[in-house]
């Protein structure tokens, strides 16, 4: 027993030293591709993404782009009948290989998910306090948690049942529940999208404080680019099951690179700006649409003929940032004198590079 543990530990140490990052990586998806039978293309296609300890990472994209599928993969949850390639690691553990008790512990203690609809998480007949205790809180801490997420009179709330609370209050309870087990990683999937903006702002403020105190990483999913860029440290933009851009939140606002990201920004109404909206033509792709090359090509104003057969690959931008667009990649490589990408896994596409 002891030996086995030691072996595991030593492997992990080597791995993380190799990575040699300032903050250790908490969640790491590497080239994750997820297919289900009966669809023309994968739900997720070569998704690579990381969340470091204590980091807030945004995942944005339109409906069906694969945001929820990505978050669920971190829980070790794939669609029924799915086959997958690539890896999902949380704290070094290969999540997709976890079974039985280890998987249960992973989902109960290491990672916590906050969904859009609190009623899907809360048992309608259980008291609020019991919900938190089930998740590892003591009675005392349950009350503290309820106060931390901004519920007035937390002792009383703990004795109430879900139907006695409004949607905004219930979502606060769900967040308190997610924090109860002191998870390393929080996954928030459109957690505040159904709420009024004023409630959203309050809940996000409380989530930020509580999360910082526990030092948990957060993967923050939203379709609202402005929200992601304002609330997160880094942001991934998804399109048709792929990551098309990875940037710091600041760079996303000031220098969006991918034509889709720029398109999203110029079609999102912005308070205080009176410029005309420029819609992206066409519609987001469905799972029956396939693409021989760049999936955005049919809607992209900058598409060239070669884009239709160019297999997307990540092209590095500034430190830690990347974009999956051949035109932008070529432009920035020319400007900064960057070499063509040489990372393993990208070489296979070289041929079509032209």
């Amino acid at each position: 027993m002891t030996e086995a543990t030691e072996t595991t530990e030593s492997t992990e140490t080597t791995e993380s030293t190799e990575r040699a990052e300032a903050t250790p990586t908490l969640l790491s998806l590497e080239d994750l591709t997820v297919r289900v039978p009966g669809t023309a293309r994968p739900l997720l296609d070569s998704v690579t993404l990381t969340v470091a300890e204590g980091e807030v990472v945004g995942l944005v994209g339109e409906s069906g782009s694969g945001k929820s599928t990505t978050a669920k993969a971190a829980l070790g949850l794939l669609p029924t009948g799915a086959s997958c390639e690539g890896s999902v690691r949380v704290d070094g553990t290969d999540v997709l290989r976890l079974r039985g008790e280890a998987l249960r512990t992973h989902r109960a203690d290491t990672v916590a998910m906050i969904h859009q609809d609190p009623r899907a998480t809360l048992n309608p007949v259980r008291r609020i306090g019991d919900f938190l205790v089930e998740r590892g809180a003591t009675r005392e801490r349950a009350v503290e948690l309820l106060a931390a997420v901004g519920l007035s009179d937390p002792e009383h709330r703990a004795r109430q049942r879900p139907h006695e609370l409004s949607g905004g209050m219930l979502q606060r309870v769900v967040i308190a529940g997610a924090l109860a087990a002191r998870p390393r990683l929080l996954l928030a999937d459109e957690a505040t999208s159904a709420l009024d903006v004023t409630t959203q702002a309050e809940i996000l403020t409380q989530l930020r404080t509580a999360r910082e105190e526990q030092g948990a990483g957060l993967l923050f999913i939203t379709h609202d680019l402005h929200l992601a860029a304002a609330y997160c440290d880094r942001v991934y933009v998804m399109y048709a099951g792929r990551v098309v851009e990875e940037r710091t939140a600041r760079a996303l606002f000031t220098a969006p690179a991918h034509p889709y990201t720029r398109g999203l920004l110029s079609c999102s109404p912005t308070l205080g700006e009176s410029r005309a909206l420029v819609p992206i033509q066409g519609r987001p792709p469905s799972l029956s649409d396939t693409f021989p090359g760049c999936p955005f090509a049919p809607r992209c104003g900058e598409a060239e003929e070669e884009c239709e057969t160019w297999l997307p690959e990540r092209v590095p931008l500034e430190e830690g940032a990347s974009v999956a667009c051949r035109v932008v990649g070529r432009r920035s490589a020319g400007r900064n004198g960057w070499a063509q990408p040489t990372t393993a896994g990208q070489t296979k596409n070289k041929v079509s590079h032209g």
Binding site: D196, T198, R208, D224, H226, L264, S268, P269, L271, S274
Partner: protein
């Protein structure tokens, strides 16, 4: 100054509460709308926006108040007689957040428009123009609602409302559920239609950024009451009411800090 198209005076609606007493869903709502104008109604959920929209089209009967279109008072209830009913429908049409519920599942997009045109004594051949106007192609024309995407259904709902050739279009959270790329297409469409047909819009939304883009005038509602109204630009840049300030502070954008909204809320309750 153009003549007033829509005038709303002292509109109010209350609902009985289970334990006795009454809940004020809307109280003392007043506004006017010029032909081709656009008025936004903003506020949080439960603030009374939808109640006002429903009273405008006649889906909810106001307790008190007067709605006049082109100087003629609208009857509080939908008239029995068909001609009167059709005239009334031509004054104000409504588009809902979920177009699914308002579209007949058995009719293709084209049939849906033709039946609305026929009912209102307009040429059925206009269906093609309408489909084109809202950017629906040949494939969509032959498709039933369940085979259309959310954005396409919303366009169809708008086309059907326009088939009636209304003076006023009331849109209740009509773009709220759409992806931004589709939302932008619909907002552009509304702009074009307004310019081309002179239809006036009452645009109900919780989204201040969208309202800023669509409307010239805005009315901010809270707990059934108007807390502030005026030109959209002024209200959204120099709000005079603390509640409007809270709403504005809650909108995410570059440099936004959600804690600012918490501070604005605190300022509101003192």
């Amino acid at each position: 100054m153009t003549s007033t198209l829509l005038q709303v005076e002292s509109l109010a609606k209350t609902y009985p509460l289970p334990g006795g007493g009454r809940h004020t869903a809307a109280e003392d709502i007043n506004f006017t709308l010029q032909p081709g104008g656009a008025l936004g109604i903003v506020g949080e959920s439960g603030s009374g926006k939808t109640t006002v929209a429903r009273m405008l089209v006649g889906l909810t009967t106001p307790d008190t108040g007067l709605i006049t279109v082109d100087g003629r008072a609208r009857e509080p209830r939908t008239p029995r007689r068909r001609p009167a009913r059709l005239t009334r429908a031509r004054e104000i049409q409504m588009v809902f957040q979920d177009p699914y519920v308002s579209l007949d599942p058995r009719l293709t997009a084209d049939q849906c428009l033709r039946s609305a045109l026929r009912l209102h004594g307009r040429a059925e051949s206009l269906a093609a123009t309408l489909l084109d106007q809202v950017g629906l192609g040949e494939r969509e024309a032959g498709a039933r609602p369940r085979h259309l995407s959310g954005g396409q259904r919303q366009r169809l709902a708008i086309a059907r409302a326009l088939a009636v050739d209304p003076r006023i279009l009331v849109l209740d959270e009509a773009v709220a559920a759409l992806d931004v790329s589709i939302q932008a297409q619909i907002l552009r469409l509304l702009d074009d239609i307004r310019r081309d047909t002179g239809v006036a819009l009452v645009f109900v939304s919780h989204d201040l950024a969208v309202v800023q883009h669509v409307t010239d005038e805005v009315l901010v509602m809270r707990r059934g009451r108007t807390v502030e109204q005026g030109p959209t630009r002024r209200v959204l840049t120099e709000p005079s009411d603390p509640y409007t300030r809270l709403l504005l502070a809650s909108v995410p954008g570059e440099g936004w800090d959600p804690a600012d909204a918490v501070a604005a809320r605190a300022a509101l309750s003192v």
